[in-house]
Amino acid sequence: MGGNEGLRLLFDELQRLDYVIVGHKVVDGALRLERVNEFNELAVGVEDVQSPGRYSLVEGDFFRHGPDSPKKFLYPSELVLFKVSPDWSITSPDVKIDRTAFFGLKPCDLAAIKVLDRVLLNVDEFYTLYRENMAIIVENCTRPGNTCFCASMGTGPRARDSFDLAYTRLGDKLVMEAGSELGIRLLNALEVEPIDDVTYGDFVRVLNEAAEKARAGFEADNLPELLELKIASPVFREVAEKCLGCANCNMVCPTCFCFDVIDVPRVDGSAERVRVWDGCLNYTYAQVAGGHFRPDLWARYRHFVLHKFTYWMKQFGTYGCVGCGRCVTWCPVGIDLREAVLKLLRR
C-alpha cells in the first residue's frame, strides 16, 4: 500500500471511530507530541538530528521523536489533586478523558508505556482511565538516531506487542501489522494486501539493520547486578562533574514518574494542591527540614542511573530505561548515559 496515502486513510479511519489523535507536530523547531485535528498537521518532510546535548530539525523523510513522550498525556506535568475552601470543604475536579489514538509513536515510546503500566496502571486512576481509552499506532523505527539504544534495552526498533497497529515505511510501501481487534478492524478498512516474499525480506532486513544502529555497546543481561556492584564507583563523581542538576533528563524521560505536590493558595482563602513532575536530579529531591540525604550532585546522578537499571527491576520487574536517548539529547551539557554505563562496567 502507498505510504502517505495509506497513513492518511488510517488517520481518517481513526477519526471516524471517534478517536482524538495525538501525533508529532513541528513546533518552534522541534517535534512535539500534540493533539492533531487534520492529517496535514502531522510533521512530514523533516528529520530530527540528535546527538549528546544537541537537537535540530532538517529536511528529511524519517524522524524519531522530540522532548515529549506519551507521559505528557498519561501522566500530566500538572494535575490538580483537590481544592479546599476556607471552611475545609474538599473537592476534587472531575477528570474528563478523550478517547485518544497515539499516531506514529516509535517503539521506544510504546515500551515506555509498558513500563509506566507496571508503575501506574490500576494505581493512578487518571492514568488507568486514559490507558483504557487509548489506541496505539506505532511506527517501526527504520532509522534510529545517534542517541538511540533501544536494541540494547530490547525495546526496539521493531515493536513486538502491546500496539493496536504497527506500520513500517519501506520506500513507498507501507507494511502493516495488527496487534489487537481494533488493529484488525483498521486493517480491514484500509484494504491491505497480503505481504509478498520480497517485501517481507526487505522488512526483516531493514529492521535488523536498524537494530545494529541502535546499540549502546552493552547488553541488558545482568545489568542490574553488574551496575549495583559499582555503587561506590568514582565514575559517578567523574560523570557528574559536568552535571548542572537541572533535571532535564528526568523531565524528558518517558518513564520518570516522581512527583512533588505544591500548594497554591488563593486570595479568597481557598487553596489547591497540585501534583507536579519532580526529578531526582533536583536539589530539593532528597532534602528534609532537618538535613539533606543527597546534597551532592554525583549522589543524585547515581540514584538516576541505578534507579533506571537496578532499583526499577527490583521494584517493578522491568528496566526503567527504554533506550530512547532523550536524556542524552536534552542534557544541556551532553552527559551521555550510554557512556556512563560503559565506564561503570569497564572499571
Binding site: 489533586l81 474538599i90 472531575d94 494505581v123 486512576e125 500548594d263 527540614a289 532537618g290 546534597p295 532499583y311
Partner: protein, 276 residues
C-alpha cells in the same frame, strides 16, 4: 477521580489538644477521622496544614478508647514551622496510618531495647505504652535516650512513669549539660556500650538522626546483636506516603511503604552507602 488522587486527599479532623514539650517541640492530639484504623506503634500519618503543605509525622501515642492520636513535631521546616499557629479546636488534614511499624510480635518474650536520639523518641513512645499495657508479654524494657541539652529531653514529665513500669530501666544522656544536670553526659553510643543487655535475647529499636543511628548500629553489632534483631525507623522526604512520589527511596526501597521501620538485615546493603 483518580485513585492516586483519592489516596492523596486528606480528611479534615479536629485538633483536640496541643501540648508544649520543649521550646520548639509540641504534641498535637487529633481525633482520628471516621473509618480510619488505629495506628500501630511505628506508623506515621500525613498531616496537612490548610494552604501550606503536608508533612509525614510519626504517631507518638494512641488512645484506643477515644481514637485520639498524638503527633509530636519539632518546628523545623516550612510546614512544621506553621504548626506553631495551630491550636486546640483547629482543623487539620489527615491521611494515614502509613508504613510498617515496630516488630511488636517478634519482640514477645524478649528484652526490648529502645534507643532514641532527639526528636527520635516520639515514634518509640507507643512501644513503651504497648509494653506497659501488656507487661508479661515482653522481657525487660531498656530505654536509652539522648538529647542535646536537658531542656531538649522530650516527655520528661513522664519519665517517672517509665521507671515505674516493672522491669524497666531508663538511661538518659545529654551532649551539653546545664547546672542542674546530674545524669550522663555524652552520646547514646556510650550508654549502649555500658548497658546490661543480652544480645541473644533482645530486640533493639532505634530512631534518631541518621548519623546517630549508624553509630548506634555499629555499637550494637560490636556487642553481638544480629542484623535480624536490630530495627531502625528511617526518615526521608515524603510527599505521598504510599510509594508513588519516589522521594523516599533508599536504594530500591520506598521508606514510606517498605518502612519506615526496617530490620537492619533488610537494608544493610544500602544503609552504609554514602548519600544513598
Amino acid at each position: 477521580m483518580s485513585k492516586s488522587v483519592a489516596t492523596l486527599i486528606p480528611k479534615p479532623t479536629t485538633i483536640v489538644r496541643v501540648r508544649t514539650e520543649t521550646s520548639n517541640v509540641r504534641t498535637y492530639y487529633v481525633k482520628l477521622p471516621k473509618d480510619v484504623e488505629l495506628p500501630k506503634p511505628g506508623q506515621f500519618n500525613m498531616l496537612y496544614v490548610h494552604g501550606v503543605g503536608e508533612v509525614p509525622i510519626s504517631v507518638s501515642d494512641v488512645d484506643h478508647r477515644t481514637g485520639v492520636v498524638a503527633h509530636t513535631t519539632k518546628f523545623t521546616g516550612s510546614v512544621t514551622g506553621t504548626f506553631t499557629y495551630l491550636k486546640e479546636g483547629d482543623l487539620i488534614g489527615f491521611r494515614g496510618p502509613y508504613g510498617k511499624g515496630w516488630p511488636m510480635d517478634s519482640s514477645v518474650g524478649k528484652d526490648v531495647v529502645l534507643i532514641a536520639g532527639g526528636i527520635g523518641l516520639p515514634p518509640l513512645r507507643p512501644v513503651v505504652r504497648e509494653v506497659a499495657k501488656d507487661r508479661a508479654r515482653y522481657g525487660r524494657l531498656i530505654i536509652i535516650y539522648g538529647a542535646r541539652t536537658p531542656k531538649d529531653l522530650i516527655y520528661s514529665y513522664e519519665y517517672g512513669d517509665y521507671e515505674a513500669i516493672p522491669n524497666t530501666e531508663l538511661h538518659l544522656t545529654v551532649d551539653n549539660p546545664d547546672e542542674g544536670w546530674r545524669g550522663n553526659v555524652g552520646v547514646v553510643t556510650d550508654l549502649i556500650r555500658q548497658a546490661d543487655v543480652d544480645p541473644e535475647d533482645s530486640i533493639a529499636m532505634i530512631c534518631g538522626p541518621e548519623i546517630m543511628m549508624r553509630y548506634a548500629v555499629k555499637e550494637l553489632l560490636k556487642r553481638g546483636f544480629k542484623a535480624n534483631r536490630v530495627f531502625l525507623s528511617l526518615e526521608r522526604r515524603m510527599k505521598c506516603g504510599v510509594g508513588l512520589c519516589g522521594h523516599c527511596q533508599v536504594g530500591p526501597y520506598f521508606v514510606c511503604k517498605h518502612g519506615p521501620v526496617f530490620p537492619l538485615w533488610f537494608i544493610s546493603k544500602y544503609f552504609w552507602v554514602d548519600q544513598i
